[in-house]
Amino acid sequence: MLKLENVSVHYGQVNAIDDISIEVKEGSITTLIGSNGAGKSTCLRAISGLAPLTEGKIYLNDERIDGLTPEQIVSRGIVHVPEGKHLFLEMNILDNLLIGAFLRNNEDEIKKDLNEVFEYFPDLKIAKNREASKLSGGQQQMLAIGRGLMAKPKILLLDEPSLGISPLLTKEVALIIKQISTKNISILLIEQNASLALKLSDKGYVLETGRIVFRGTNIELQNNEHIKKAYLGL
Amino acid sequence: MKCNYGRFEILFLLLITIIFTLGISISEPIAETKTVNIGYLGPLSGPASGWCLPGLTGVNIWVDEQNSKGGLKVGNDTYKIKIIKYDTEGVPSKAIDGVKKLILQDNVVLLQTQGGADATAIQPFVTRQKVIVMGLTSDTCAPEHPYYMGISENYPMYHCVSIQYIADKYPLNKKIALTVQDEVSGRGSMAWAMAAAEANNMEIVYSKFYSTETTDFAPIISAILATKPDVVSLCASWPEYRAHLVEQLYLQGFKGQIETSEYELTDLFAKVPKSFLDHAVGHYPRLDNKLLPADANKFYSDWQKRYGKGGKDDIGREYYSIDYEYRTQLQIWAYGAQKAGSVEPEKVRNALMASKDLPHTLGSSNWWGDEVFGINTSLISPQYITEILNGEEVTIDKYDIIEWYNKNKEVTLKYLKKYDLLWNQR
């Protein structure tokens, strides 16, 4: 469904990612694991159009999408939930969610999806008029995912959803991610918490210093000695 | 390189040589009627051009009159007069460029200026070159500026006699409030008006300056009206401030009398009804009034014929005071040159300074100023008083500022000193 072919991105002289090929299959959860600075976020930024490619191609189904603006990419159903959430902190929850639905015009469907998001995250419903800045870290993460869902994604790019939230909440978020994927939304997930990522995903890639060093199903990756040592702490 | 001129080129060079020689020999005899150059240096464009550009009308009328008679007779010679303009845009550094060009290149014998910043900037150069500078106002008069003369108006001294006039004619108007923008010319007008108010035992209920940055005049007028004045003097407020001040006085319900240096009536009546300005006191007479000399009356009708509605050079506006002010500089200069029998600036200056009762457009005038400016280079002309009546500015009375000053010297010097305006305070 989403395919990166030999993608490279440079920031000035620095190679952020180098010759990367990734495929995300329809309805699957694909994960990118790697340590800090390995180039995971850059991958997502390349897909969503925030970082221009120096080489390579990106396809959505059979259409080339590299070179399109972020606006055009999101309109094709690729929705990026950035690291650090990037919420609109001085706006309330409802407005944040509605920004997610900015490109959509069907009011009834927007309302329906809003209710669906509130079902996933009941906390958000209760506090819907509260400013995003006044939410807890976990609630903010829920809001970020909820806002992504409001864009009616076909593919959701999640950047470190577990960052800065408690283990208990992490589990809850993981559950919701799983639930989302059952609704025919493909997910490309970036995580430092590799064990969580591998538990969730069907397929994964391991990034080290901008290059893919391993790829495989979650079982293959979980059983790899290097990954066990370097990422799972076993 | 070979020098290989054909016959044609030689012929051509010859022709050019002949034309040049002829040209010189032809122009020689014409030079016998002499021409004298006069520099007209000032803001001909930019925000301050209103003080300079209109003056060219009066200058043109005077110059054309002289030249059509064959020129100005000075001693044994007759001079055609040529005005050379230089636009300073109100920028002193451009005035310095201009004065160098006018003196060194055009050999001007007189510089006509507005006075103020332009005139001050050129003083070091003109003093070295010994060229006379005439200005509208006297604020540049100083011992270190011996070649500067304040000719055209009695600004800002005239505020003393307008307050005197109010005291004489409206003795019931006892409480006076004064305000003006905070800069040298504003402070000068305030000092003279305050002196006259005190000399006449008026009660000064408000006397404050406002900043030149002011955009909202409502609070100033509210503060003034809270003191319940009978007379509000806006002194020498600049025209753009004056319009707002007058409007606020009207809107906040002022019922008394206004005094200020001049009235832009068309602009003011766009904001307040005509009756509001009845009995307001000003200083700039229309020159067709019988209180003024015949020369002034004649100038006014010449102006109307040439620049007025339907005239030869219809200028599309009403006559106003600046129209005569540069003309009168030329009159005074011509008087000095004829007395000296020469157009040489040093001689003209000496002849002028030695004269009494000089022929100013507004009437016979005399030098004054050593106690205030440290030098007697301010020419004081008769001061007319105007009142606004039914929307028209009518010339109503005439005062002598020198006489007034001699009577009220002490209080005047006190206020000039208070606002740091005396020559030895600078």
Partner: protein, 287 residues
């Protein structure tokens, strides 16, 4: 007592005037992240439009004001497209280009209609509102309901419309906003359009009681910068509060002392305030 009431009224009018101009400036700053130094010149163009249409061609005053507002708004949109957009994100270039615009507009207007004499715009309402011994010229009174209507409409737009929400989102985090399909360029154009229209409206309404000259923008823009900075750059509510603070500060000090003291007091107040609270009245601390 009368003077106190009069001062309260004077201050309210002055505040409303500053608020309209400053909110426009604050909005463009918030969304574009660039200061439009030519904002004062847009105000001047509003006044010139009214001078041309109403004073010279005798069109109805409020029609002239409406046209001035729309015209200056369109001008803002054009300026965003051809001047600000190419230099977006380059702080120095956008500073230089916008200061350059100040001079270009001033010189253009000066060449076109001359300088020197203030352009006379007749008062539309020569009378004054007179209540409780307080008198305010009607021409000044109308600035107050105009400001209230403009702000109510503007807040409704920001809160309840899709594009209003988008403007707020871009102001808070333009990258995140673009991730949800918000066209940042379009938002910048809308912000500069609305912001400029406010400047144009203020200039148009005030033309009969201000000195209409090519340089008139100069005299108001300093105070408005101070208001925007103290209000917390980009913060609309903060800007309105700051406009009230400075409107009253200026009026009260001008009444009791004089306007020279008033401008000194305003500047000192701003500096003291910012050293205590650099984020502005309501502003959030950066990051």
């Amino acid at each position: 007592m009368e003077l106190i009431l009069q001062t309260i009224a004077n201050g309210l009018i002055a505040s409303a005037f500053y608020a309209i101009i400053a909110v426009g400036l604050s909005l463009t700053f918030g969304v574009m992240n660039t200061v439009n130094y030519a904002h004062g010149e847009f105000y001047m163009i509003g006044a010139y439009t009214v001078w041309q249409l109403y004073a010279i061609h005798h069109w109805p005053f409020f029609l002239a004001v409406g046209i001035a507002t729309i015209l200056v708004g369109l001008l803002g949109i054009i300026v965003e497209r051809i001047i600000f957009r190419p230099v977006r994100g380059k702080a120095l270039s956008s500073f230089i280009i916008s200061v350059g615009m100040v001079f270009i507009i001033q010189v253009f207007v000066a060449r076109m209609w001359g300088v020197g004499h203030v352009k006379p715009v007749p008062a539309v309402f020569k009378g004054a509102l007179d209540i409780f011994g307080v008198t305010i010229g009607w021409q000044r009174v109308i600035i107050l309901p105009s400001a209230v209507i403009v702000f109510l409409g503007f807040f409704y737009f920001l809160r309840n419309s899709k594009w209003g929400r988008a403007l707020r989102a871009v102001a808070l985090d333009s990258e995140a906003a673009s991730l949800y399909g918000i066209n940042v360029n379009k938002c910048a154009a809308i912000a500069l359009g609305i912001g400029s229209a406010m400047a144009g409206l203020a200039g148009a309404l005030m033309a009969p009681i201000m000195s209409v000259t090519p340089y008139m923008g100069h005299s108001v823009i300093w105070t408005c910068f101070v208001v925007v900075i103290v209000g917390g750059a980009g913060n609309i509510k903060g800007t309105i509060i700051a406009a009230l603070v400075f409107g009253y500060l200026n009026t009260i000090v001008s009444t009791i002392f004089d306007s020279t003291v008033a401008s000194i007091v305003s500047s000192v107040f701003m500096l003291t305030f910012l050293s205590i609270r650099p984020q502005g009245i309501l502003g959030y601390a950066e990051k």
